[in-house]
Symmetry: C2
C-alpha cells in the first residue's frame, strides 16, 4: 500500500462495498430521532435569541418573552399541521422542491431549490456555532477559540461523511432521546422546585441589565413593537428543521405517510414543551441574557467586562436547577452539543441528495446526479463544508449574527411550499368526484391555506426585521444560485434541442471510406502497437505520419522503418518552426477537404503512467493534439494506450476511490427519480 493510499485510508476509511447498500425502513421510535434532531436542536438557541433581542430594551422587556414564545409555538403548530398534509400528498420524499415544482412550475422549483441549498449551509453554520458555544461554556479552556472549535467540528463531520460511515438509527436515537430526557427532565424538576419555592436564582440574576442607548424607557411606541417582532422573528428559529421529516417519508415503515404525520405531531409537542419550559424557567430563575454581555450587564453598577462568560440559557437554567449537582449541568450541555452536531450532520446528508435531484432536473451539472458515484457526493459534502466554514469564520461563529441569515430562507421555502399545497388541492378538487374525498381535500386545503397565511406573514415580518441585519446576504446568495441554475438548465435544453434526431433515416449514411493515420514520433513499442491496431481495423487508406522537427532524427526514423520492412507508408510533415500540433491538424483538415465523405481516424500512441507527476512528463503533445482535432468534424481520435510498468496497480489511485461506494444517509434512500448521467452525456 502506498503512502497516498495509507493517508487516504486513514482519512476516508476503507472502501465500502456496494452490496452493503440496503434500504432499511425505520420504526417510529428510530425515525423520530433521525429526522427530528434538526428541528429539536433549535430549542438550543431559539430561546436565547428571544431573550437577547428583548434585552435591548432592558430587563423589563423580559415579561413579554412568554408571549413571544407562545406566538412561536402557534406558528409551529400551524406549520406542522400544514406539513402533515404535505406528507400525505407527497409521500415520495421530494420535499418542498417536489411540491413547488409540481404545483408552481419550474421557476418556483428553482427558487425553492436555491432557498433549500442556502438553508443547508446555514443549518451547518448555525448548529455548529451553537455547539461550539455549548462546548466553550462547559469547558472554559476553549474560550475565545469558538471559531476554531466550530471549524474543527465541521472538519470532523466532513471527514465522517466522506468516509461514508452509515449512521445507524441508534447512533441518532441515543443522543436525541438523551437530549429530550435532559431538557424535559430539567424543565420538570425546575418547575417542581419552583412550586416548592426552592428554585435558586440563576448566576446571572444578580446582574443588572442596562437597556441600550435610546431604550431607557423600555418597550414603548412603534420601536417597541418592532423590537418585539424582531424577537419573534428570531424565536422562529425554533421552526427550522421541521421540513426534514417531509423529505424522509420513504424511510418510514408502512403506513409511511401516517407514521410520518404522527412523528410530525410528536415533534411539535416536544418542541413546544421544551421551548415554553425553557422560557418559563428563564423567567423564574431571573436569567439575564444579552447580545454583548460585557457592556450590557453590570455587577454592582460596573460593566462585567470581557472576562464574563455568558452561558447559553439552557446552561444557566441547568446550573440553577441542579445547583448542588454539577454533573447534571455537564450532562445537559453535552447532550445539547451532541444534538446540535447531529442536526448539522442531517444537512450533510440532505445537501448532496438535493443536489442530485436538482442535477436530475438539469439545474446543476449532470454528473452530480449519478447516485452510484461517490465522487458526486464527495463534491457536495466538500462544497457544503467549505461554504459553512466561510460563514462561520466570517461571522466569528456568533449564533446571533448567523440567525439573521438563517430564518429568511426557511420561511421562503415554507411559504412557497404551502402555496404549492393550496394549488395542489385546488387542482385535485377539480377532478375528484367522491364527496368524502372532496371533503378531506377541502379540509386539507383550509389547513394549508392557514399555513400559507401564517408563514407568509412571518416571512414578511422576518424580511422587515432582518433584511438589513443580514437577511440580504441570504437573498443575494439565493438569487445567484437561481440565475446559475436557470442558466445551466437553459444550456442543457439548448444542447438537447441541438442533438435531437430529426425524423427519417438521419445518421444512417455511412462514411464512404476510412482513412487511418497513425502518428509516429519514434519507433518504439507503443508506436508498433498503434500501427498493428490500425492495420487490424483494415481501413481503406492507412498511412503513418511523422512531424519533422529535426531532419537527422527523421532520417533515423525512416531508416529504422525501412529496416523493419513495415508495410505502411511513412509520410513526413515539414515543421520549419518545430511545432507539432499545427502541421498534423492542417494535414488532417486537408484530407477532410479533399474527400469530405471520408472518415479520418487518427491513431495516437499514449503512455499510461502510474503517478500524476509522470503524467506531467508525458502525453502533453498528445493531449493538445486531441484537443485540437476534436474541433474538426469527421475525425475520430483513437487513443492506443501503452501501459508502462509504473501503471500497474495505479488504476484505483487515479480514480480517487473505489466507485460504487454509496453512503446510505437515510434521506438518500429515495427510489425512482433517476435518469442517467452517462458516458457521452
Amino acid at each position: 500500500m502506498s503512502t497516498t493510499d495509507a493517508v487516504k485510508r486513514l482519512l476516508l476509511g476503507r472502501p465500502v462495498h456496494s452490496d452493503r447498500l440496503a434500504e432499511t425502513l425505520l420504526p417510529k421510535r428510530i425515525a423520530v430521532p433521525v429526522f427530528a434532531s434538526d428541528a429539536l436542536s433549535s430549542v438550543a438557541y431559539a430561546p436565547d435569541e428571544i431573550l437577547l433581542t428583548l434585552a435591548i430594551a432592558g430587563a423589563t422587556a423580559y415579561v413579554l418573552s412568554p408571549w413571544v414564545a407562545v406566538a412561536v409555538v402557534v406558528v409551529l403548530v400551524v406549520v406542522v399541521s400544514s406539513y402533515r398534509q404535505n406528507v400525505h400528498a407527497y409521500p415520495s420524499g421530494g420535499g418542498d422542491y417536489e411540491v413547488v415544482t409540481t404545483n408552481l412550475g419550474r421557476t418556483g422549483g428553482v427558487a425553492v431549490g436555491s432557498a433549500l441549498l442556502v438553508d443547508y449551509v446555514l443549518t451547518v453554520a448555525v448548529s455548529i456555532s451553537s455547539a461550539s458555544q455549548y462546548a466553550t461554556s462547559a469547558l472554559p479552556a476553549l474560550r475565545d477559540h469558538e471559531v476554531l472549535v466550530a471549524v474543527l467540528l465541521i472538519a470532523v463531520l466532513t471527514s465522517i461523511n466522506l468516509r461514508g460511515v452509515r449512521e445507524s438509527g441508534t447512533a441518532f436515537a441515543v443522543p436525541t432521546y438523551l437530549f429530550i430526557a435532559a431538557v424535559l427532565g430539567m424543565a420538570g424538576f425546575g418547575l417542581l422546585r419552583l412550586a416548592l419555592g426552592d428554585l435558586p436564582p440563576a448566576p446571572s440574576a444578580q446582574l443588572e441589565l442596562v437597556p441600550e442607548h435610546g431604550w431607557e424607557a423600555g418597550l414603548t411606541g412603534l420601536a417597541g413593537g418592532f423590537l418585539v417582532l424582531r424577537a419573534f422573528s428570531s424565536g422562529c428559529a425554533a421552526l427550522t428543521g421541521v421540513e426534514a421529516i417531509s423529505n424522509g417519508v420513504p424511510a418510514f415503515r408502512k403506513p409511511k405517510s401516517r407514521n410520518a404525520a404522527t412523528t410530525l405531531a410528536l415533534l411539535a409537542l416536544m418542541s413546544s414543551t421544551m421551548l415554553l419550559g425553557i422560557i418559563a424557567l428563564s423567567i423564574a430563575t431571573g436569567v439575564q441574557f444579552a447580545e454583548r454581555p460585557a457592556e450590557q450587564l453590570l455587577r454592582d453598577g460596573v460593566p462585567v467586562g470581557d472576562d464574563y462568560v455568558q452561558d447559553p440559557v439552557i446552561g444557566q437554567i441547568a446550573r440553577s436547577v441542579f445547583d448542588g449537582f454539577p454533573p447534571a449541568f455537564y450532562l445537559v450541555a453535552a447532550a445539547t452539543g451532541v444534538i446540535l452536531v447531529l442536526a448539522a450532520n442531517t444537512a450533510f446528508n440532505g445537501f448532496p441528495v438535493l443536489g442530485s435531484i436538482l442535477a436530475r432536473d438539469g439545474l446543476l451539472p449532470r454528473q452530480l446526479h449519478t447516485r452510484g458515484d461517490r465522487l458526486a457526493f464527495s463534491n457536495g459534502i466538500v462544497a457544503l463544508a467549505a461554504a459553512a466554514v466561510v460563514l462561520v469564520v466570517a461571522f466569528d461563529a456568533e449564533v446571533t449574527r448567523l440567525i439573521q441569515l438563517y430564518i429568511v430562507g426557511v420561511f421562503i421555502s415554507f411559504t412557497m411550499s404551502q402555496t404549492g399545497m393550496v394549488r395542489h388541492w385546488t387542482r385535485h378538487l377539480a377532478t375528484e368526484a367522491d364527496p368524502a374525498a372532496r371533503a378531506r381535500m377541502r379540509r386539507s386545503r383550509v389547513i394549508n391555506a392557514v399555513g400559507l397565511v401564517m408563514t407568509g406573514t412571518v416571512l414578511v415580518i422576518v424580511l422587515l426585521t432582518k433584511f438589513s441585519r443580514g437577511a440580504w446576504i441570504t437573498l443575494v446568495a439565493m438569487a445567484v444560485l437561481f440565475v446559475l441554475m436557470q442558466g445551466i438548465r437553459r444550456h442543457y435544453d439548448g444542447v438537447a434541442r441541438e442533438l435531437a434526431l430529426e425524423d427519417g433515416p438521419s445518421g444512417r449514411v455511412l462514411p464512404s471510406q476510412v482513412h487511418a493515420v497513425v502518428l509516429i514520433s519514434k519507433l518504439h513499442k507503443p508506436a508498433l502497437r498503434a500501427l498493428a491496431y490500425a492495420r487490424a481495423s483494415r481501413p481503406s487508406v492507412l498511412e503513418a505520419l511523422t512531424v519533422e522537427v529535426d531532419p537527422e532524427e527523421t532520417a533515423r526514423l525512416r531508416a529504422q522503418w525501412d529496416e523493419r520492412g513495415l508495410p505502411v507508408p511513412l509520410k513526413t510533415l515539414a515543421s520549419p518552426y518545430r511545432e507539432v500540433t499545427r502541421p498534423v491538424v492542417d494535414y488532417v483538415r486537408g484530407l477532410r477537404t479533399e474527400s469530405p465523405r471520408d472518415l479520418v481516424v487518427v491513431y495516437i500512441p499514449e503512455y499510461v503512467v502510474g503517478h500524476w507527476w509522470e503524467q506531467l512528463l508525458h502525453n502533453q503533445s498528445a493531449l493538445r493534439l486531441k484537443g485540437r482535432l476534436h474541433f474538426t468534424p469527421g475525425v475520430v481520435v483513437a487513443s492506443v494506450p501503452w501501459q508502462l510498468t509504473s501503471s500497474a496497480g495505479a488504476e484505483d489511485r487515479w480514480e480517487g476511490a473505489a466507485p460504487g461506494d454509496v453512503r446510505q444517509g437515510t434521506p438518500a434512500a429515495r427510489p425512482g427519480a433517476d435518469s442517467g448521467a452517462r458516458a457521452g452525456s
Copy 2:
C-alpha cells in the same frame, strides 16, 4: 471577438505569425548593448555593496575601497580573458552548460544547469530591486513602496515577454549607450572638476558614519581581513552577466567568435572604467553609504533616523558632480534604472532557452523543449517571474540581502565552466599534431587554468563570507533542482528502455479480430454518428452498449432503437447502484479475457463545447471512463466528437494562443540542437 479574446489581446498582444521569425545577425555596435546590458548594469549596485560592507568598520575603512575595486577589476579581466577562449571553442552558444556537459559529463552539466537556472531568477530579483531603488531615489513619492514598484516592474516585463514582443536591437542600444555615456560622462566631468579643485562634496559627506558595535578600532586583525574579503565578494557582483555573451555567439555577424571576443574585451574595458571611476569619485566626494543608514549615519551626533533617504552611490555622485543642474541627476538615475530593467529582461530571454536545452536533454519535462510552442515559453516566463517575485517580497526588495544569494551561483558556473575548458584543451591537445595549433591550445589552456584558479579562489571566498548570510539558500535551491532534474532524466531513461524494440519482428502480429463497442446513453445525433463511424470501420463484431441506470429510460431507448431499425444489437448492462464506469470497464475486461487476442475498440460519443464552463457540464463520465479504460491493455478508446454550435470559433480559445508564435529573443535563435517532443512522446 469575445471578451476573453479581447482581454487576452490586451494582455498578450495579437498573435505573431511564424513567418516573421528570421535570424537577424547583429553587428557589434548592436551586439554590445544587447548582450552587455546585464554585465554593465551591475556597476549600478556593485560599488554600493563594496562601500556599505566596508562601512561596518567605519569611514576610515573606505580608504581600502579602491583596492577592493582593483581586485574586482583583476578578477573581471581574468574571467573575460577566459571567456574569450570559451567563445572560440564553443561558438554554438550553448554557454556554460554545453562546455561543462561536453567536458565534465552529465552530472556536471546538471549541476551547472541548476546554478544557471537559479542565477536567472536572481538576476531578475537583484536587477529589479536595484531599479526600484533608483526609481524611489529619483521619485520620493515612491518611497517605502520599493517592493510594490519591483513587483510591478516584474509584472510589466512578464507581460511584455508573454506578448512575444521582439526586442529590436535598437530598443537595447539606445538606453545602453545612454547609460555608458551618462556614467562615463559623469566620471569624466567629475574627475575634471576634481582636478580643477571645484568638486563639491556629496550631500552625505557632512554626515558622520559610526562603526558598528565592536568595530570602533577600524579594520584590524583577522576580523578586519574577513570584512575586506566580504567587501570583495560583494564587489564581484560586478562580474555577473559576463557569461551572457558566450550564449549569444550565434547571433553575431561573421567572424562570429572573433566579434564576440572583441565585444567581451570592450565590455571588460567599460565595466572596469566605470567601476573604478565610481569608486574614485565616491572617495573624492566623501560619499557615506551604510546598510542601515537610519542608525549608522549621524547628523550633528544624532542618528539621521528613518526619514533619511539614502541615494545609491551613482545618484549621490551625480548630485555632487552636477550640483547646479538637477536634470543631469535625473538623466543618470533614469538611464541606470532602464539598463537594470533591460538586464532583467535578458534573463527573461535566457531562462526559457536554457529550459528548452535542459528539456532536450531529458532533464526537464520534454514539452518545454518544443521551441515552436508558445506555451512552453510562457510556462518558463511565468515560472521565472513567480520565483523572482517570491524573492523580491521575501527580501523586501533589498539589494544587499539579495546580493548574498546571487554571487555564489555565478561563481559556481564560472568555476565549473573553466574546469571544463581546461579539460577541453587537454583533450584536444591529445589528438592535435600541428605545432602552431598546439601552441595556441596550450596558451588557451594556460589562460583558462588561470581563470579556474581565480574563479575557484573567489568561489571559496564567497562561500566563506556569504554562506550564513544567504548563500545557503542558493545552494539548497540548486540541490533541489539538481535532484529533480536527475530524477526526471532517470524516469525518461527508464521509459525509453521499457519501450525500446527488441530485435526481430515484434509488434508485427496483428490482433485476430476487432470487437467494436459503441457506448450509447441516449439516441441523439452524436450517438448515431458514433454508430455510423463504428460501422464504417467494419469490425468483426459490433455492438451498442448502454448502462441501465433507470429501467424506464432504458425501455424508452430500446423502443426508439427498434423503431429506427438500427442494424446493430443493443446490449444493456445492469447497474443496480446507478453508476456507469464500472459496469462498462468490467464488460470490456470480460471481452478481453474471453478472447485475449482480439482488439476491443470502444467508441465514445463526446460533445465539443466552446467554453470551459460548458466542459464542466458535459463529458465528465466519458472522461472518467476513458481514464479507466486506459489501464486495460488491448483496448483502444475512439472519441467521436460532436461539435456543438457553441464550439465554433472556440478552437483558438482552447489553445490559449495561436501556436507557431515564437519570440525570437536574440539568444533563442540557436540553430541545431533540437529533437522532438512530439505526439505520443
